[in-house]
Amino acid sequence: MSAVPVLRVSNLTKRFHGVTTLDQVYLDVHAGQIVALIGPSGCGKSTLLRCLTWLEQPDDGFIEVAGKPLGRELMPGGVVRRHSRRQIDALRPQVGIVFQQFHLWPHMTALENVVRPQTVVLGRSRDEATRRGAELLMRLGLADRMDRHPHALSGGQKQRVAIARALAMDPALMLFDEPTSALDPELVGEVLAVLRTLADIGMTMLVVTHEIGFAASLADRIAFMDRGRILEEGPARDILAAPKEPRLQSFLDLVRTDHRIVRTTANPTE
């Protein structure tokens, strides 16, 4: 395991109007790992992702992406220095995010969605950006969809365009916010396959999900979050097989029970 983690979060704290949404969060994600972040809704998972892209400014704590501080850094002598907007923007392409609702730009074609940020943010030439964008879309199985606008794409296709858009920036880390929740249940397998291909090329990922089965079949490690804190973190198998934290135990019980109920009502013959 390499010395410098791709993502290091330390003591991250975020309050909204006095309510602590993130409470001293510590998390390391190492190169090539897939970490699933699970927990009940409202526990702060999505807020954590928004802080990691600096869409929300954490009140306290530090974020490091591939060894480089994001947003603020601790200077020698214990002084905290806040970064300028430019410094933050410069590091943002390093953290690719795929939003729950994808947020593709509807006035651009699929290809243009992938090309435009490259030319605007990274200063790539149009030719180079188009080549890179087409290559990524092709690899994600969208070769015949590049000239379509987002509303003419299915949910799964939109998600893959959003993934390509983030990948084109050559990020060190990819964040996924509930990648299965905006799609039909039968597409979960497809999402899993796409994320696995990313894992095969060595992409480091942090995936927020509430689907335990999805987390189990995808992640190397699982972090369990509740009330703004990461209560337990470890290898996926250990976390699911032998949870130590009582709140994680009851969360897993609840989720698994829910699944059984859904199955029995869906297939009464079973």
């Binding site: 995010i97 947020h103 509303h151």
Partner: protein, 239 residues
């Protein structure tokens, strides 16, 4: 008592001059006012309480005062500071100020109506706020801006009649001159009403064309969808 069109035959060059100036002043105030309106809208949306307060103050003051008072404050206020400018210029600036408050609200509302995720996804990928606005937000709000902006532009054009009170020789001023010379108010004002109507109709037509053009860019997106294509062509055939 009868309608005497001879008056109009004698005085039409004066009325035409006035109409031309009305059009010029309105277009200048539209461009100037819109530029200021966009700036105020962007300031209003800047994070932090101070910019919002400043922009809110600007809009509230200009919206809550009758235009004629804004005009008088500017016209009589500038000499107070030692600035003397031609009445037409002062009138145009006052008109632009008046319209800019409404344009600012139109632009602000259009930006806020766009899902926040659009701007955020552009920012998260590393675009500056200006680039996110230019590449992602602006192209999507253009069409929504046209109808309310047209309304405001028509109102503003009609309000330019008030400039006659500071001796700007626009259409209303000229009509008062003609009326004073001829003592035939009905003929003159009936003619002037038709001229205002024509100018307004021209603005409305220009707006329709603009909307169609801006709309064509967005409709192009829709027509790429085969299903949308079929439905749109069905509708087109029926009508």
């Amino acid at each position: 008592m009868h309608f005497d069109p001879a008056i109009l035959v004698d005085y039409w060059p004066l009325l035409l001059q006035g109409a031309w100036l009305t059009l010029q002043v309105s277009v200048a105030a539209l461009l100037l006012g819109y530029a200021a309106g966009i700036a105020v809208a962007l300031i209003a949306l800047t994070p932090g309480w101070l910019p919002r307060l400043v922009a809110g103050f600007y809009v509230e003051i200009l919206r809550n005062i009758p235009f004629i008072i804004i005009l008088f404050v500017v016209y009589y206020g500038l000499p107070f500071w030692g600035i003397r400018l031609p009445a037409t210029l002062v009138g145009t600036v006052a008109l632009a100020l008046f319209a800019s408050a409404y344009y600012a609200e139109i632009v602000r509302a259009a930006i806020l109506a766009l899902p926040r995720g659009q701007f955020e996804s552009a920012r998260a990928i590393g675009m500056s706020p200006a680039n996110a606005m230019w590449h992602v937000v602006a192209p999507q709000i253009l069409r929504a801006l046209v109808p309310p902006s047209t309304n405001m532009t028509l109102t503003m054009m009609k309000e330019s009649a008030v400039l006659s009170s500071i001796t700007v020789p626009e259409l209303t001023y000229q009509s008062l001159v003609v009326q004073g010379n001829t003592f035939a108010p009905f003929e003159v004002f009936a003619a002037v009403a038709s001229i205002y109507w024509l100018i307004a109709a021209a603005i409305a037509e220009a707006s329709r064309r603009l909307e169609r053009r801006v709309g064509a860019v967005q409709a192009e997106a829709v027509s790429r969808n085969r299903i949308a294509d079929r439905y749109l062509s069905l509708v087109a055939r029926r009508t």
